[in-house]
């Protein structure tokens, strides 16, 4: 057998052996067997010198071809085997990705306080600063300075809680208006969120304690059109752009003119249903132009400044938005209920 035939035979043998390798170690053994320092192909290449010069080129070419081929077969077999090993490893390590993840606990805000945060944020974005006031207020700030006449029913001890001579649990956050205006010159632009107290018998729409947001904007040229523009923007922000709104005249001691803001019913969209008592409208907040007497009480000149004030019950808005029929549910502190929101 001449060198040519030996080369061919080695080629055939190597091809077969590479194909039957089942591990990277096998492949490495084949590589050493044929291409290693003492490998068969290496051995044949060394014998090339003994080949007659006229055949040397042809046999040399053949041997080199075979060497390259075996090298590449080995490489490709290696890759195949790596791939196989990875694949079988992955399936052995496979997880049930549908098992539930490790949860982290998440608590819930009280829905009223969450709503109050959201509302105040809208006002702050419009340039109103948030301020707080005491819940135990002077009768003067809670009533007199807000133009409540001495005989006004809400001063009655059937309606307000008294805690000492001249002190009352504030029945609205409006007295903070007085505190703010007394502490600074106009312009004033504030909202006052906070807890208020009235001597109501708790039912589906009344509580002895509730939250209110009072707003006040006083400047040298504020009009009712500004009031409408501002509160319409707020109503749309809270209830959505599609909500229709209306302002209708009303009465509050501390504003004149006074108005109430209604929105089209969230349930029936104005067609009339139980929620809106078949009127198509839901009352949302009270507002109006600050009464000149209130300005007098805080030392502002009512001929120079004008302003608007508004007050909204946070529970009212929360129950409307969340579809809660009974205001008392907001303060049940029941995890089952809180978890819904």
């Amino acid at each position: 057998m001449d060198l040519h035939d030996e080369a061919k035979a080695a080629q055939d043998a190597a091809r077969g052996e590479i194909q039957s390798c089942s591990s990277l170690e096998d492949v490495d053994a084949v590589r050493i067997k044929y291409l290693g320092r003492k490998g068969e192909i290496t051995f044949l290449l060394r014998k090339l010198g003994k080949v007659p010069p006229e055949q040397r080129k042809e046999v040399g070419g053949l041997l080199n071809e075979i060497k390259v081929e075996i090298g590449s077969l080995i490489e490709s077999r290696k890759q195949d085997l790596k791939q196989q090993k990875y694949a079988s490893g992955a399936s052995a390590e496979a997880l049930d990705v549908t098992l539930p993840g490790r949860t982290f606990k998440r608590g819930r805000f009280n829905p009223t306080l969450k709503m109050m945060d959201d509302l105040v944020q809208i006002f702050v974005g419009m340039g109103f600063s948030s301020v707080e006031g005491p819940e135990i207020e002077t009768e003067y700030n809670n009533f007199d300075a807000l133009n409540f006449p001495p005989w006004h029913p809400s001063r009655d001890d059937h309606d307000s809680f008294y805690v000492g001579d001249g002190y009352v649990l504030r029945t609205h956050t409006s007295p903070a208006q007085i505190r703010v205006m007394k502490s600074q010159p106009p312009p004033v632009r504030v909202v006052v969120p906070g807890r208020c107290h009235r001597r109501d018998t708790p039912d589906a729409s009344h509580l002895m304690s509730f939250y209110q947001i009072e707003g006040l904007y006083v400047d040298f040229d504020v009009s009712m059109a500004d009031l409408k523009g501002t509160l319409a923007a707020i109503a749309h922000e809270i209830f959505g752009e599609q909500t229709r709104i209306r302002f209708r005249p009303h009465y509050f001691p501390f504003t004149e003119p006074s108005t109430e803001l209604d929105i089209s019913c969230l349930v029936c969209e104005g067609k009339g249903c139980r929620l809106c008592k078949h009127s198509g409208w839901l009352e949302v907040l009270g507002c109006g132009m600050v009464h000149p007497n209130v300005f007098e009480h805080v030392g502002y000149d009512p001929r120079k400044v004008t302003g608007f004030a508004f007050g909204m019950g946070v529970e009212r808005i929360a129950t409307l938005k969340l579809g809660i029929g009974d205001i008392r549910l907001l303060y049940e502190n029941d995890i089952r209920l809180l978890s819904q929101f």
């Binding site: 702050v124 005989w151 008294y162 009009s223 302002f247 009303h250 078949h278 132009m289 502190n333």
Partner: protein, 799 residues
């Protein structure tokens, strides 16, 4: 306020349907305006019938056999009423209908005569309490007409709320005036036509006002030869539409005028007023009156009363008495038309719990100028009905006549306030339509009618103009971006951060009652002279403003436990209240409460109950995040487990103060609360924590010298606190100790009983150089020695 639509049209002719009128009323400022559903389904099978034949009953002398024409037929009715008259018209109830007496009409033989229908009294026709006489109807109506049509009971009724400032709209004329103004229609006010054919009033009665504060004006007129009987059916029907109960023709006439004008009147039987002398005065202490509701009321000197020389005959503006009321025997009637101070009436009515139509209206201010009109109008209605005589002249005691208010209103300022540009002429027109007299000028001079006590200044004028112009026509503008940006107070920002954080670790936000009862106070040991008591609490359970969030939090935990919640975690950030000096103090507090399972059963972890250290970690975490330094030491709160509670101290630059406590509620407390679990609650003064908040520190270089880490485990007597061991380590390590972390606590067989082992990982680092092993060894030696000498600590392991 009920507004019968047909009756309203007596005063303004409207050409739009009631539903549409409602929309206008809403935009005029009335609330909850709606058309009521029909209220007279009960009269569905009642028709009018004319008596065409009356014969005696063959077997019963008390009965008559009556033939009635009901339009489509003649029917026979067996009837026992005394006033069945030939040719008269009466209500006829057809078989199947239910009478006001409760009886159901059916065809039946009575004494051998078949009765096919029933002729009705007012009671049987659901109208009033008249049981004996048949209800006589207007004989011009066609027989067979439905009763509700003949009495106009089918007319719509609008119901609405009138705001407290608009007493003038508690009568139909007031409402008609508003609608006339908005529609540009004429207001029709009936002109009273009285024939003053009786004696001079001065010969019949006299009036003295002793209390002009409570009664600024008192007028009276006297009627003679009065026949008191049931009012005509149409009047009774009208009163029913108004929501009032018919009584007799005199009282009903006064009520008709009340309902038209909003001005209450009262009628007295003059012969039961001693000497015809009316005295308006304050009640004497202990004076009593038996009112027409048969209740005896005890009066106080704050009550204004109408009296005669013998005693009280009425509580002014609230209710009359039995001893002076007009009844069937009455021949002479004194009609009172007065103006009482609204605050007096309101207080008296409220104190006595009397909700009369009169008190309601006087409380909201009636028109002091209307007194003579309402007297004449009432007299004219009664005279028309009974042909009585009317005194010549009226009494009018009015010592300090009220002058109409004059207001200067500048059209420019009115427009500026409204944000409108309504022409001056239009403003003037709106005001005149509402009955204001206006003189033009740079400022309009507006004369306000006495009925509009609510209109006091230019702003009120602007409101009137705005209402008629239409609030919906005012533009929507805003200038809210001008020279102002909104801010939150620091307190809100910090509270919000903490709330977010607590929500983030799984706690829920609680809002509990701001008040509690003395039993709670006592149970939780909260008695203190600083408690703020509510003087007029609704019940004792809500009589004290809360001094602590603890009771509320305990209740929330127990409640959710009862509801079957395994994992209960809440916080509340709310105010507590106390007296302070002359005034009061409100402090923001943070309460945290946990109970049940911290780690619920899950495929990846073992369940673990909440414990003390979960709670402590929350408080530590909050304070750490805010940059407030706190330390804990064992506490002695009675309501907490003696060995499982701590006092929280806030460490400030120069001192430290107690800001709260935390721990496990004592087992007996849990038992009383109805809990089967261990309840962990913390409460801290959040105001102090907030004030201690530090801003972000300055940057410290990260490029530092290497750290040396050592572990140290020491066995010490059990009673030694970890904080003591830690402070020994820190004080011996000096400034080179970067951190000390406790990583193991062991008690058990491997160490002597009565001891525990604490294992620490200590990191040493210098900011100036690389530390040598030798100096750390020496430091650690010092620590070990100190631990041994201070606590008898034995070294267990070091590395």
């Amino acid at each position: 306020m009920r507004v019968p639509f047909g009756w309203l049209q007596d005063f303004v002719k409207l050409d739009v349907p009631p539903e549409e009128v409602c929309d206008y009323l809403v935009m005029l400022g009335f609330s909850d305006v709606r058309v009521l559903p029909g209220e007279w389904d009960c009269l569905e099978n009642f028709i009018t019938g004319r008596v065409i034949k009356v014969e005696p009953h063959p077997s019963d002398a008390n009965l008559k056999v009556v033939e009635v024409n009901v339009g489509y037929a003649s029917l026979v009715s067996v009837c026992g009423a005394p006033n069945v008259n030939l040719g008269e018209m009466y209500p006829v109830a057809m078989p199947g209908s239910k009478l006001g007496s409760g009886r159901v009409v059916e065809t039946a033989k009575i004494g051998g005569v078949e009765s096919q229908c029933i002729l009705c009294s007012g009671w049987e026709a659901w109208l009033d309490d008249e049981k004996d006489e048949l209800l006589k109807l207007d004989s011009h109506i066609a027989p067979g007409t439905k009763l509700i049509e003949s009495l106009r009971l089918n007319e719509s009724i609008i119901e609405m709320d009138v705001t407290p400032n608009r007493g003038d709209c508690l009568g139909l004329i007031g409402i008609a005036r508003e609608l006339a103004a908005v529609f540009g229609k004429e207001l029709i006010i009936p002109e009273p036509a009285v024939n003053e054919d009786g004696p001079r009033i001065g010969e019949l009665a006299s009036v003295e006002i002793e209390d002009t504060e409570g009664c600024p004006r008192y007028g009276a007129i006297v009627l003679g030869d009065v026949t008191v009987r049931g009012a005509p059916a149409e009047i009774r029907a009208r009163l029913r539409q108004a929501g009032l109960r018919p009584i007799n023709n005199v009282v009903d006439a006064a009520n008709i005028v009340l309902f038209e004008t909003g001005h209450p009147l009262h009628t007295f039987d003059l012969d039961r007023i001693k000497d015809g002398r009316i005295i308006v005065r304050r009640a004497k202490k202990g004076e009593t009156i038996t009112a027409i509701d048969d209740v005896e009321y005890r009066l106080v000197p704050d009550d204004v009363v109408i009296a005669d020389p013998d005693g009280v005959v009425a509580i002014a503006g609230v209710i009359g008495s039995r001893n002076s009321e007009v009844g069937p025997a009455t021949r002479r009637v004194l009609i009172e038309g007065a103006f009482f101070d609204h605050a007096f009436i309101w207080r008296t009515a409220k104190r006595l719990g009397i909700a009369s139509e009169a008190a309601y209206r006087f409380s909201r201010v009636v028109d002091v100028g209307a007194v003579l009109y309402v007297l004449a109008r009432t007299a004219s209605l009664i005279q028309l009905d009974t042909k009585c005589n009317v005194s010549s002249g009226m009494i009018d005691v009015y010592p300090n006549p009220v002058l109409p208010r004059h207001i200067l209103a500048n059209p420019k300022r009115v427009n500026r306030l409204l944000g409108t540009s309504i022409p001056e002429q239009e403003i003037l027109d709106y005001l005149e339509r509402l009955g204001f007299m206006v003189s033009p000028g740079k400022d309009l001079e507006v004369v306000v009618p006495t009925r509009r006590t609510d209109v006091e200044g230019e702003a009120d004028i602007a409101e009137e103009v705005g209402r008629l112009y239409g609030y919906d026509r005012i533009d929507l503008t805003s200038n809210h971006s001008r020279d102002s940006y909104g801010k939150y107070p620091d307190e809100t920002v910090i509270s919000r951060r903490v709330r977010d954080m607590l929500i983030g670790i799984g706690l829920n936000e609680a809002v509990t009652d701001a008040t509690m009862g003395p039993d709670r106070i006592e149970f939780f040991g909260l008695e203190s002279p600083e408690l703020v008591e509510i003087r007029n609490a609704v019940g004792v359970q809500n009589s004290i403003t809360r001094p602590s969030l603890l009771p509320g939090m305990a209740e929330v935990l127990v409640k959710n436990e009862r509801l079957g919640q395994e994992d209960v975690g809440f916080f509340e950030l709310g105010r507590t209240y106390s007296k302070k000096g002359e005034g009061f103090e409100e402090v923001a507090r943070l309460a945290v409460g946990i109970s049940g399972t911290s780690q619920p059963r899950a495929w990846h972890a073992k369940p673990r109950p909440f414990d003390f250290y979960d709670l402590k970690g929350i408080i530590e975490g909050v304070c750490e995040a805010l940059g407030a330094d706190i330390v804990f030491e064992p506490g002695s709160h009675e309501k907490f487990h003696a060995g499982r509670q701590a006092v929280v101290n806030l460490v400030k630059a120069d001192n430290s103060s107690v800001i709260g406590y935390l721990g496990e509620l004592a087992p007996d407390v849990c038992e009383v609360l109805g809990s089967k679990r261990r309840l962990y609650i913390a409460e801290i003064d959040f105001k102090q924590v907030r004030e201690a908040v530090r801003g972000a520190g300055r940057y410290r270089s990260l490029d530092r010298y290497p750290a040396v880490k050592r572990d140290l485990a020491v066995t010490i007597p059990k009673k030694i606190l970890e904080s003591q061991v830690r402070s020994v380590i820190l004080s011996n390590g000096g400034s080179l100790v970067e951190s000390v972390k406790l990583f193991d606590v062991y008690e058990g067989e491997q160490i002597p009983s009565g001891t525990k082992s604490l294992a620490y990982a200590i990191v040493f680092r210098s900011s100036e150089r690389t530390l040598t092993e030798a100096e750390i060894d020496s430091l650690q030696k010092d620590m070990e020695k100190a631990l041994e000498s201070d606590f008898g600590g034995k070294l267990r392991m070091k590395s």
